[in-house]
């Protein structure tokens, strides 16, 4: 079929389509979990660690005396496995003897009102025996650093070896060697986590929560509850933004446990502050880069070490640090590449998925490397990029041949039309 013919047959592609949920959203009728109110409903609140690394002893007796409190759940109330996690099961549903970060959940209070739950939260006694923590991923990699989990702090090491960088650097006329650091970033999706759970007439546990992975949630809830997955249903209502921050479990298992334990619907809505504490962050990264080029600006070698701070839990650290490793060369052909990318545990807030998934941090490094090289060569920043960029047929550092659609040159030329980088470099007027 010719392009025009295909176009005629398409109902959606190339057309301006009104979103299916658009009407419910512009009228305010879209239902997010916080908008669900059920008869006979209870409210849940999470007691969280305020220490980054400590052994704990929990005494809930004073909290249980608060009027209106129906149930206080702790680690011993988890019916199945007291763990969850997207790759490694390194989170506890409720921490039993140890907390590894500020914000680790310790108890889940279920009460007739939010006020009663809050009051009970203040009365639960958590005895902390503080442990040495580690807050710098570079320190955490060293021998003798406090261990966040039993198997050591290095979660993952990803390597790329292509050509021979040592020999290639000897051929380079210019070398840029720089260390870059990026910080933690919060998703701040506009709808804070909320959910409601209940047990239906057939004994099925229903969890209504805004989530990115209802099918993963089902598995995690079932494992923690010690029941088959077909006894758990996850309902995903309107999701008020996620950006990766709703990939890990937050309140789903707590709610399921509470509904099962009380036989009543239980609702939980995080405040903005709790939302910040509860879910993952973007991985802060330390990126040491050495990039070399010949006198014509042709890249010959790159060596990079990336250390990603995944905080107290692995979440998607492996995928994120692999992606960072793959993308650290930027969209440039480099014949000799050596990359070592690590994911490291610390007692910081845990890091996971966030928009770009490891590909967002690295341009800060590889693009500044290009600018530094351009400056050393007295070349404008556009020309050095045009000389080295991926095009059709290029081979990436991981050996992938780019076989179709690599229109980066066109993109840069369009940008140049507006920005006049080359003119600017020569001292001309920028738009």
């Amino acid at each position: 079929m010719k392009k025009e013919e295909i176009k005629l047959k398409l109902n959606v592609v190339g057309k301006n389509i009104i979103r299916v949920d658009g009407l419910s959203k512009v009228t305010g009728r879209a239902v997010y979990p916080q908008d669900i109110y059920m008869d006979n409903m209870l409210y849940g609140k999470t007691l969280r660690s305020d220490k980054p690394h400590a052994n704990i002893k929990v005494d809930i007796s004073e909290g249980e005396k608060v009027e209106g409190v129906v149930k206080i759940l702790t680690a011993k109330d988890v019916p199945g496995h007291n763990y969850h996690g997207v790759l490694f099961k390194d989170h506890e549903v409720l921490c039993e003897t140890r907390v590894r970060r500020i914000g680790d959940p310790i108890a889940f209070i279920v009460a007739e009102t939010e006020e009663a739950a809050e009051e009970a939260m203040d009365k639960i006694n958590v005895e902390y025996e503080e442990l040495d923590g580690v807050f710098d991923p570079i320190e955490a990699m060293k021998k003798g650093a406090p261990k966040v989990h039993e198997d050591g702090n290095i979660v993952y090491h990803y390597k790329i070896r292509k050509g021979n960088v040592e020999d290639a650097f000897k051929e380079c006329d210019v070398i840029a060697e720089t260390e870059y650091k990026t910080h933690m970033v919060e998703h701040a999706f506009l709808q804070p986590e909320a959910g409601i759970a209940y047990v239906d007439d057939d004994g099925m546990i229903i969890v209504v929560a805004s989530t990115q992975y209802p099918h993963f949630d089902q598995l995690e809830v079932a494992e923690a509850m010690g029941i088959p997955t077909e006894k758990v249903r996850i309902i995903n209502p309107a999701v008020g933004g996620a950006f990766g921050g709703r990939e890990d479990i937050t309140l789903q298992i707590h709610l399921a446990m509470a509904a099962k334990a009380t036989g009543r619907p239980v609702k939980c809505t995080y405040s903005r502050e709790e939302s910040f504490v509860a879910h993952c962050k973007r991985h802060p990264m330390v990126m040491k880069c050495k990039t070399g080029a010949d006198k014509n600006g042709k890249l010959l070698a790159m060596e990079a070490e990336i250390v990603g701070d995944t905080g107290a839990y692995a979440s998607w650290a492996i995928n994120v640090l692999r992606k960072a490793g793959v993308h650290i060369t930027g969209p440039y052909e480099i014949p000799n590449v050596k990359v070592d990318s690590y994911a490291v545990y610390t007692n910081n807030p845990f890091a996971g998925a966030m928009r770009g998934f490891g590909a967002t941090q690295v341009p800060i490094a590889h693009e500044q490397q290009m600018d530094i090289l351009a400056e050393k060569l007295d070349m404008d920043p556009m020309t050095i990029r045009m000389k080295n960029m991926f095009k059709l047929g290029s081979e990436t550092a991981t050996g992938q041949i780019l076989e179709e659609s690599v229109p980066l040159d066109r993109c840069i030329q369009e940008v140049e039309k507006v920005m006049n980088f080359t003119q600017g470099k020569k001292g001309g007027e920028r738009e």
Binding site: I18, V26, T27, G240, S271, R272
Partner: protein, 159 residues
């Protein structure tokens, strides 16, 4: 408990409120107007924006008892009874100015408060008008487009 009188979306109410209640709690829990969203509880995000006596305010920063005798418009008050959308809602829908939707009701009410006072705002004025409303999906351009379009629709004689 205290009893207050107020008008919401043209309807008069006499309601018993708890002294500790905020206006957003009154709207959501007493009047079941769930289109008003709570995103931060500190007046930073604007998701709970409503129009009170003609001015856009964050309902998380108003105590319920302060709304005595107030005239309030929430997102539920914009549609006509026959279900016809308000021109601003229609423009948001047509321009794809809604993504996750959590900011949308507040954004639309800020737009309404702006257009009620300034029927043909510039893009800069529109941006100022919605500067108290965060969109984290970052669809700001489409939102500004929608408000521009709504101004035209309103001028042509919407409601």
């Amino acid at each position: 408990m205290k009893e207050i009188n107020l008008t919401v979306n043209g309807k008069k109410h006499r309601i018993k409120i708890d002294e500790n209640m905020r206006l957003i709690d009154l709207l959501r829990e007493k009047l079941n107007l769930l289109g008003t969203k709570e995103g931060c509880g500190e007046g930073e995000c604007g998701a709970c924006s409503i129009i009170m006596d003609g001015e856009v305010v964050t309902s998380c920063l108003v105590m319920a008892f302060q709304a005595e005798s107030a005239d309030i418009i929430t997102i539920e008050g914009l549609e006509k009874e026959d279900g016809t959308l308000h021109p601003i809602q229609q423009a948001f829908l047509d321009e794809g100015a809604t993504q996750c939707g959590f900011c949308t009701p507040g954004m639309i009410l800020s737009a309404k408060a702006l257009l009620d006072k300034n029927p043909r705002p510039t893009r800069v004025e529109i941006k100022e008008g919605i500067s108290g409303n965060l969109c984290r999906c970052t669809g700001y351009n489409k939102i500004v487009d929608a408000i521009e379009k709504a101004a035209i629709l309103l001028e042509k004689g919407g409601n």
